[in-house]
């Protein structure tokens, strides 16, 4: 009884309230930068220039947001559309290649299977910057520089995704597959009609992760995209930083707009996302 009670009292001299104080301190440290940028993005230009600045805006305004969303000189629709297109394309392609290859590795027996799987796993061990230069030259050779397909083509197969899907499919019973075969289903039909419909949760996890990684990707787009109308959101934001150094409000509002879509996804799926991040460490 006493033990059970002590179990809830974590730190030696802090006690329960001390523990919460520590947690809340961490919370403030985590959220304060986000919060400060958000409130600052609502300040007028005069308030942004004021020294020392007030923490909260005196006359909150959405002016900077409206400028970004409506100014003709800022091709934001194009840039958002680029990011959405690339992210969705990469999600769909990765989900297909991962689940399909995962299915083959999980359910078929053939010579050279381990070797083939090993070849795919090499991708996990190779840091991006090693293949960055040759892949850039490949993209040049394919004539894809400054085209959105340069972001998609080199990222169509994800070794970690295949690994994850293989593990999941291995746990599915083979009886269903045999039954489908007797009913005359083709091998691909077994994948698309028996296996795929049961893979909601792992596909969702992989999809969310691929989406976030693509949405936030910066280095590779920086290398292969050059013209303003081809930029993805992070490149647009960097362009804002360099062009509008005098207009802080625009830069701050643009940062918040960049963060919001991911936050929105995160609010609904945070449990999945955190669990997935935890598991990927133990892959």
């Amino acid at each position: 009884m006493n033990v059970e009670k002590k179990n809830r009292a974590p730190f030696w001299i802090l006690g329960k309230s001390g523990a919460y104080a520590f947690l809340i301190l961490g919370l403030v440290a985590t959220l304060l930068p986000f919060f400060y940028i958000m409130v600052s993005s609502l300040k007028t230009d005069a308030e942004l220039r004021k020294t020392p600045p007030d923490f909260f805006p005196q006359q909150p305004t959405l002016k900077h947001y409206l400028t970004i969303l409506t100014d003709e000189k800022i091709p934001i629709e194009r840039n958002v559309a680029n990011s959405v297109f690339v992210s969705l394309a990469r999600v769909l392609i990765t989900l297909f290649t991962s689940s399909f290859a995962g299915y083959i590795f999980a359910k078929y027996h053939f010579k050279g299977k381990n070797l083939a799987f090993g070849v795919i796993l090499i991708q996990i061990m190779i840091p991006f910057q090693v293949v960055m230069i040759p892949n850039y030259l490949l993209v040049v050779k394919f004539g894809l520089i400054d085209r959105l397909w340069a972001l998609i083509l080199p990222a169509m197969v994800d070794a970690y995704g295949i690994f994850m899907m293989k593990q999941f499919i291995e746990s599915m019973p083979a009886e269903l597959m045999d039954a489908a075969r007797i009913d005359g289903a083709s091998e691909f039909g077994i994948y698309s009609r028996i296996i795929l419909p049961q893979m909601g949760p792992p596909l969702a996890s992989l999809g969310i992760f691929t989406f976030m990684a693509t949405w936030n990707d910066y280095l590779w787009p920086l290398i292969v995209l050059t013209s303003p109308e081809k930029r993805t959101i992070p490149l647009l934001l960097v362009w804002f930083q360099t062009q509008h150094t005098s207009n802080q409000g625009l830069v701050l509002a643009a940062s918040i707009l960049t963060l919001l879509p991911i936050f929105f996804v995160y609010i609904f799926l945070q449990r999945w996302i955190v669990d997935q991040a935890t598991q990927s460490a133990f892959k």
């Binding site: 179990n7 974590p10 985590t30 083959i104 230069i133 934001l237 960097v238 940062s255």
Partner: protein, 332 residues
Amino acid sequence: MAISISSLFKKEVVEEGGKLMAKQRRFAYASLIPILLYMGLFTLFPIVWAVVMSFFDYTPIREGSGFLGLGGANPFIRMDNFIELFTGTSKPAEVFRLAVRNTFLFTTLVLPLNLAVTLPLAVILESINERFKTLFRAIYFLPAISSSVALVTIWAYMYAPGWGLLSMMFKAVGLVPPKSWLQDPNTIYFGVPLAMIAVVVAHVWQDFGYNLVIFVAALQSIPKTLREAARVDGANTWQEFWLVVVPLLRRTILLASVLTVISSLQVFVIFQLLTRGGPKNQTQTMLLSIYENAFRFANNLGLSAAMSMILFMIILVLTIVQFRILRTEWEY
């Protein structure tokens, strides 16, 4: 008669089964070949290409002669790129050696700071009520899912000289904030430039969520009985932490440390955008050097490939360590 029919039937079944197996094998090969070809083109071939390129004086600006433009105007120079990087006096080589030092310095600072934040936080987090635990964990993980570019904007604003929030906070508690957090090359504490400290803090803030959730998960998997036994034996919470929890988490801490080091060696966005490698190259890192020599200031891809090989070797050793940790048998 009956016997022969049954044996015939059996043979047919076996043949039928064999045909089925052959059909499945064909399907498996037909499906995997495109994927393997793709991996060959975008992973294996680039690795080999990068290795080969690091022995050439290669730039795509010059039309080379041989396969892939390696040769002719882009000559094979044996180990010269590496010799230049280790001992040469050219600007890129000197900056790169600085970058190697800075990358290690950064990693050395990030790891202990990260563990000092995440371990205690995870232990406390693990001990609280389930509902709050999920909420806190979700919020702590927020920076980890955010766009690095947006976070850099945030930190640039936090570190703004004079009137930035950090300077204001320093003033509020009676401290004198530095004139410039990110651009003053002369403020150095214990051999660490202030700009580097600023980057380390911003990076740990962005990255601590990963280790936190890993530690919370590991703590949850430690059987309650072990910690209860320690308490029944009269251990206080401090002793319980150091004598029970930390030893039991040893493998996870080791794994998280290796992962943190591997990722710290490859941080890019914050260096490229927050400090741009400055001031006076004090925050120049290996990856930033690779990028700048390949794509920004020069198209010296051979030299950049050699740089990437050096970084790769370091990471490869760490990856092998990581896999060894993962493979060790472990039971509570």
